[in-house]
Symmetry: C2
Subunit: 748 residues, 2 copies
């Protein structure tokens, strides 16, 4: 209607002919108003990378086209925004990681006692500043605090408070998660992998999730449940990046750009979790598969990672000015390793692969059982009950009593008379008792972890896995050492120094090997694991055994099932994530997987074009992401529902009576001289691929993987044959995973 | 002919009808004998990744399909072959790197004197085993050896031998390279980048090249020319992998697999060159762009890299049991850096970016000038002349007299009274003289390097670049230190310790910053540079300044031209290598770059099919890689000349008279019942992509980059519109490089 008004205003001063011309012009098709804002995606959708990249390029082009100082300034500001978010995320993650450590330590110590002169001091801080040899009186156990003299009563009180507080911590974490942020449960890495590959799940990154995950994580770790903080820290870091990115429209407004930022943030999470900045970068490359995003993402990840590590070092939560949790001191004696040690190490590697696969299977089975049983309705009770069980069992198995990180640190250390003996681990007369205890610890921990990982609390799997592996490794190390002491003259030990007093086998390093083998079996990562463990031990001479153990355990594990625990969880929750593995067809082609044209809703126009009403009808009736456009039988292109909707609405509103009958066309035949026909061809997606239906399936999968496609049209000599979406490919590739879609929350 | 003979043999025993049937069967199209061996590529071709990958998958499928023990064994052996090559390459590279160091040191010392009790000992080995304070009499300078007493004559003799030997070394290197292996000149990294992306250049990796490059490199480095050994070591390592791979058919026979192996080998080269195994891996990821090849390549590179580093450490060429060339000891005092230091560091970073770009431009200009001038005919004379000039200049500028690595090691060190003073560098009264000398050294080195890099000798650019940067950095450090001493009370230095005796500024670390900035400007690498320098300094607290300097210098450098020195050389020599950068079109589509259908040689068949003769005619006349196949106007597919040739030859030979007239078809219409027609459709390439001509150019470029395509067909509604090859894309992307194709050896 609007342009008629304008014409009428002019009509007084123009001749009839002129008025006719004006009308003629006004009758010409109005320019399509392309929506300036990108259509936003609904929760659960998969982003269209091609379109997002195109939008980002367009935005940059507009920025760069501005003249002079203003143009330069906006370019610099644009770039600064991104970097500011990166720096803030790095700092935030480092500080969050440090404070988490402090909180966990305080909560953990609180289970045993309190500081007399300040409730908020942990044991180490409370007792700091003493002279050597001086006894710390400022820290009181609860029985000292309540002045209980009877040893039996002391013991009862201590264990009561220990278990009660543990249950309380775990329970509050579960309540927090269930009430405020259900997405804060579990590790978060599967979801982040899915999001980075294009899944839209903004609720997973909300500020509430951030807060609850961080708080819940501290409570969960302190509760003594068998879980770690590594994966959840990655989630926390991504939430932070998401939060900071909201300050900058240019980052937040583009889904592709946002994902590049999240990749960098995830790297920072790993960097802080292990104090291993390079390991973080390689984790990003290997596990989060940011390979395809190129050098830029790698560089940003590196910057975030280093900043986070430095922030952590600056806060210095352990008061050691060291970055890493368990620094392994390889002593002068043990820098050399001997060829015969490869036999126990290979055994450990194979064991790691087998037990890793077992852990994955048990964990998946537990998750599926939980879903189908009554526990699904009562997650908080499950957590409370299981933490009670964990506390009770841990109190019995002595090595489990302390936090896992302390256990691991002690298992990695060599025995040294100058240090205290950790629960008799270094007692040379109790070798076989220790071996039994270590194996018992590992088995218990395995069972506990397989259940814990998946409960309604934040929980990482790295640290428990390391602990299991370290126990087994130490046990094998003790056995080897025992054999050496028993048979020092055996041919196997001929390369050892002849004096029996000089140690030949260092069980601490066996623990490292065991941990790396177990991690390899559970996560199926390679380079990043080795780098993380290399940054832990710091000795190049020992990288080779670590490397071999990771590799062998991955090989053995792959024999029982190709996928690591994160991929299994992604498949169970049915996120649209495509494993980067090579897919091999058996001679199938695109034809075998496509949804055939006969089953598709298409926009078909004939020589007369189509009316707006026709299109409106289709858009209203079907909620598909988009529709192929045909001219007769000929494939013209693909148009998204979103674009159609935003374009049609004003056109229909302009002329409520006759607008719906207006002709429109996608095919844009230049021969048609009817100017009143609305040319809709600019709405066609530029970047949709057309494949031939004879294309081998392998190649289709590899194209969707590498180009990150959302959908491709399959054509046969110019005619539409069908359509293949990413979901089809994901189903194809994950078809033989165990428990696929068992935990899916999708409504199909 | 052959099947007629066979039929005749049978004819005695069969009835007429049976004979007819037999003939009928024999007349049926013979099964096409698909060549079992992959057609080999000619030198200078680009491999077809899709086809190579398919062949590799096929081979694996055949292996895996073998039953029982034999099948398992062949799978294991197959995998072992690859790993054996990797391990051998790692060991070989490590040992080669170590022996190169030893050889260089001996040759370098030989320019100054000799060991009395053994000609083949270098100075350090000759004088080892002495008590502290004892004077080394076993090492004699040449004037001592020839018993010359006169100081003036001594000086003349020493400098004469120094310069003569330098020229001799350089000259012999040039003669070796020119006579035996022209590909052994220069760094080798540009060629390796091209080869890894699919270029076929087997001569570049031949055993002769390996030998000459290693030997020539030692001579060139010892000659005192301004060059480093880093890039050439990468080349040596790749040659080794190529040599070892010949032992295993399964590796050598597949071009894609061979390239994955070469990527791993290249990583080992960097690892040995810098003693930085992780830096090597990241170099592989960033500069050699092995991103796209996935986790496997990364893992293999990592293994090779660690093995090489360990082999180097085992041989221990420097007798220090340390891996790295210049270990920077950051003392307790200087672990803290202060905010004001960011100002000189930013200045260094900007300087590095500007000088790096200048170096690239000068070097390219020198290369182009050399090519067009008479020097092109006399490369050995050029080397001899320029090494004489270098020797003369180096003798004058005192810091250049020693080898670059020694200079850099001293520039990186802090002044320490317990160590000797390197050419008065630590003399506190000569600050301004030192600054002048350092700047002079940097300028001379820049000019010398810009010319040297590209002469007919093996030459790397890393070490000279580090030396230039370190000189500038040390100079800026000395200036800052001088300012601090002069104005200790200035607001700028308020964060320094108040006592003037406590050092506040550490010029040694400024040299590291300068080196990283200069490297950033010349190579435009980011993460891998930082990691290499991080492994050098070993202090996490100083990563941030290194990172900032690399980043800023890259930004500044990019302002003067986006490409690093290796990319420039690739473009100059016109290798078919596609920079991984993002390409942005200005609204162009595939149509704008394709070679249109009208200009193409096609195989066109009509309803009657075509004859073998027609095809043979085309194959004989045109030497294109392949031909699009049309049915009428309709696009059927693409067939390579190679496949046609190998298939047609036996068919034509079988029946010399009528064979050429036999009908054949690609379109494989099922309606045609004429069984005598040979169905050639299996020859069509399965994996050639068809794109629409409206596809945005950006997307075409990104597809060719990510999927590593050799060519794509452009179609328009089922009809052939044109073809786009990788070469077209390379030309498009490198169009605005300076000096593109200036050194090309291609005959177009």
């Amino acid at each position: 209607m609007s342009w008629f008004k304008r014409t009428n205003g002019h009509a007084h001063n123009v001749s009839d002919a002129e008025q006719y011309e004006l009308l003629e012009e006004d009758l010409a098709p109005p320019r399509l108003r392309m929506p300036g804002k990108q259509p936003s995606y609904e929760e659960g959708a998969t982003i269209d990378w091609q379109r997002e990249e195109a939008a980002e390029r367009e935005r940059k082009r507009v920025l760069a086209s501005q003249r002079g100082f203003h143009g330069l300034l906006s370019l610099v500001l644009d770039s600064c925004g991104m970097w500011l978010v990166i720096i803030l995320t790095g700092l935030g993650t480092g500080v969050a990681g440090a404070w988490l450590d402090i909180l966990v330590r305080w909560l953990g110590d609180l289970k045993e006692g309190r500081c007399t002169y300040g409730f908020f001091y942990n044991q180490v801080t409370c007792c700091s500043g003493l002279d050597p040899g001086e006894v710390c009186n400022q820290w009181q156990t609860w029985s000292e605090h309540f002045n209980i003299k009877l040893v039996f009563a002391q013991s009862i009180l201590q264990s009561f408070i220990y278990i009660t507080l543990g249950i309380t911590f775990a329970g509050s974490a579960a309540v927090l998660v269930q009430t405020y942020a259900p997405y804060a449960f579990h590790t978060g890495i599967p979801e982040i992998k899915a999001i980075l590959s294009g899944y839209v799940l903004d609720a997973f990154l909300s500020p509430w999730t951030l807060l609850i995950k961080a708080l819940g994580l501290a409570l969960a770790v302190a509760s003594g449940l068998s879980l770690g903080k590594e994966g959840p820290l990655v989630h926390v870091s991504c939430c932070m990046a998401f939060l900071f990115s909201k300050m900058f429209k240019q980052v937040y407004g583009n889904e592709a750009r946002k994902r590049r930022l999240l990749a960098a943030a995830a790297v920072a999470g790993v960097s802080v979790a292990f104090g291993s900045p390079l390991g973080g970068v390689l984790f990003g490359l290997e596990e989060l598969d940011t390979f395809s995003s190129g050098t830029d993402v790698m560089w940003r990840g590196f910057v975030t990672s280093v900043i986070a590590a430095m922030a952590l070092q600056y806060v210095d939560p352990f008061g050691t000015s060291k970055l890493v949790l368990f620094q392994v001191q390889i002593s002068e004696v043990t820098t050399v390793w001997r060829a015969f040690e490869l036999i126990p190490w290979l055994f450990l590697a194979i064991l790691g692969g087998v037990l890793g696969s077992l852990m994955i299977k048990l964990n998946a089975a537990a998750a599926v059982y939980r879903r189908s049983s009554i526990l699904h309705q009562w997650p908080v009770f499950e957590v409370v009950g299981f933490s009670a069980l964990t506390a009770a069992v841990s109190y019995l198995v002595v090595f489990l009593r302390a936090q896992s990180s302390e256990l691991v640190a002690n298992l990695f250390l060599e025995c040294d008379a100058s240090r205290g003996d950790y629960h008799g681990l270094c007692n040379p007369t109790a070798t076989w008792a220790n071996v039994f205890l270590l194996i018992l610890t590992a088995a218990t921990k395995l069972a506990l972890t397989a259940w814990t990982f998946g409960m309604m609390i934040p929980a990482g799997i790295f640290l428990p896995t390391i602990a299991i592996g370290a126990c087994l490794g130490r046990a094998v190390g003790l056995i080897t050492q025992g054999l050496h002491h028993a048979y020092p003259k055996a041919w196997m030990f001929s390369s050892c120094p002849p004096e029996p007093t000089v140690p030949c086998v260092s069980p601490g390093f066996y623990a490292v090997i065991g941990a790396s083998a177990m991690l390899g079996g559970v996560t199926r990562m390679t380079v990043s694991l080795v780098v993380i463990l290399f940054e832990l031990t710091g000795a190049l001479s020992h990288v080779l055994p670590i490397m071999i153990s990771v590799m062998v355990s991955k090989w053995v594990g792959d024999y029982f099932g190709k996928e690591g625990i994160y991929s299994i969880w992604i498949a169970m929750r049915e996120y649209p994530w495509l494993p980067p593995n090579e897919f091999r067809d058996r001679g199938e082609t695109a034809m075998n997987i496509m949804k055939p044209a006969a089953d598709l809703v298409v926009l078909r126009e004939d020589a007369h074009g189509c009316t707006l009403q026709d299109i409106d009808q289709v858009v209203r009736t079907y909620r598909f992401h988009g529709f192929p456009v045909l001219f007769g039988d000929e494939l013209v292109g693909y148009v998204t529902r979103d674009r159609l909707k935003t374009t049609l609405a004003p056109l229909l509103a302009e002329d409520a009576t006759s607008g719906a009958q207006r002709k429109c066309t996608f095919a844009a035949r230049p021969t048609e001289s009817n100017a009143a026909v609305i040319d809709l061809s600019p709405l066609l997606e530029e970047s949709v691929l057309h494949l031939r239906k004879e294309m081998p399936l392998e190649l289709v999968v590899s194209m969707v993987q590498k180009l990150n496609l959302r959908h491709v049209l399959v054509s046969e000599r110019g005619k539409l044959a069908g359509i293949i979406t990413k979901t089809d490919i994901v189903r194809l590739v994950t078809a033989d995973f165990p428990y696929t879609a068992a935990l899916s929350e999708r409504q199909w």
